[in-house]
Amino acid sequence: MILRRLSFTVLLLALSSNGFAGVLPEDRADVLYHLYDGGGVEIDGPSILVRKKVGKSLSFVGNYYVDMVSSASIDVITTASPYTEERKQWSLGMDYLRGNTTMRVNYVSSEESDYDAETVSFSVSQDMFGDLTTLTLGYALGDDLVRRSDDPSFERDLDKQIYSVGLTQILTKNLISTLNFETITDEGYLNNPYRSVRYFDLSSAVGYSFEPELYPNTRTSNALGIRARYFLPYRAAIEGEYRFFTDTWDIVGHTVSLTYIHPWGDWTFTGKLRYHDQTGAHFYSDLFSRSEATNFRGRDKELSALQSYTFKLQAAYEFLSDDGNDWGFLKKGKVTASLNMLHVDYDEFSDMTALQPIGSEPLYQLDADIFQIFFSFFY
């Protein structure tokens, strides 16, 4: 499993509307190029999304997304060999509007050489209290198949379910807020078949050896997020967000962010700061005391205690406005470029590439740049 999948939590967002139930999302097409570059990993590719209304109560959406991966990450160079991989994902969805109720169905399929994933999701949104409140209930079911590229006989199942409740509330003429609660359950093969843990081994020249990781077969997580956006006295907006996360692997996370949006003529500029802090999974260890020291064991650095920091800058330019133009059926067009600079400090993940003796290895740090540019056309 070169690419660990979260396919289940899929494009619920990409295929959802703006949070208001009584209006179908506007017709648009987006052509996006994405690039992730950091920690020895480079991932890039396109994403194309097309949404179109049919009549007054139906809206269809389709998305095609590609990841082209070239990886020489610290996991790979310390326990395996650099690789290249490609993942393709496509999805189809439909929104049906009836009165103040919107129902959505969505199907997503993702394929790569050693991992397949399919997800079906359904949600219903209801506008209430003079359209000040929108309540959304969602459910999704995922069916994944994990394989190994070096062992054709290896196949493991992974089933996932998501239960979600969302509330969007207009509080004042200038303030809107959302509350989201999401429970995700996994059952099946959850670890990475290629990844290893390391343990003390005095018979080894470096003092340690590796063995395959072994995760529990179930995981249930709960996340509660709250977000509020405020229209400032001049034409600009500010947004704050907080999320609390906990799961049955003993990971507890806190995430906060602050966003500022400032339009200027045909331009819109956005700046964002985000901070995330989490504890580690109970079966995680950077260095186990011996082989098979615990029932479950993992050394996935994302399951370590860590802190991540992101600084985002984005600029959007509207090159085609909807106040009269000669572009035929096109009403509006814009181009957007964004850069997210991500830094992660791992509390319990040693940098073995430093080639220092056990106990004096520095902790690993990750820096990554995440770049996106996309054209959006509204019709």
């Binding site: 070169i2 997304y65 790979v76 997580s221 957007t336």
Partner: protein, 78 residues
């Protein structure tokens, strides 16, 4: 046990939705007062294809997931 508690929450919300139909609640922000909320800079998810991608990156690089009203599919590359 967790499934049961989730079911109770969903049931309570469904009851709440039902009760909302029993009597009108006067909206304290009138439709004609929502011009600022309708401004594109107030759209909570103006570019979903982009948001889905960055959410997916966070899910791959961190141990937490969900709860942000959005989540993206994709790789969690090693």
């Amino acid at each position: 046990m967790k499934h049961r508690s989730t079911g109770r929450i969903l049931l309570a919300l469904l009851v709440l939705m039902g009760l909302s139909a029993c009597g009108p609640i006067e909206p304290w922000v009138k439709p004609y007062e929502r011009d600022k909320l309708a401004d594109p800079i107030m759209a909570l998810d103006a570019d979903s294809v982009s948001t889905a991608y960055i959410q997916h990156v966070y899910e791959a690089r961190e141990g937490a997931r969900g709860g942000e009203g959005a989540a993206g599919g994709g790789c969690g590359c090693n």
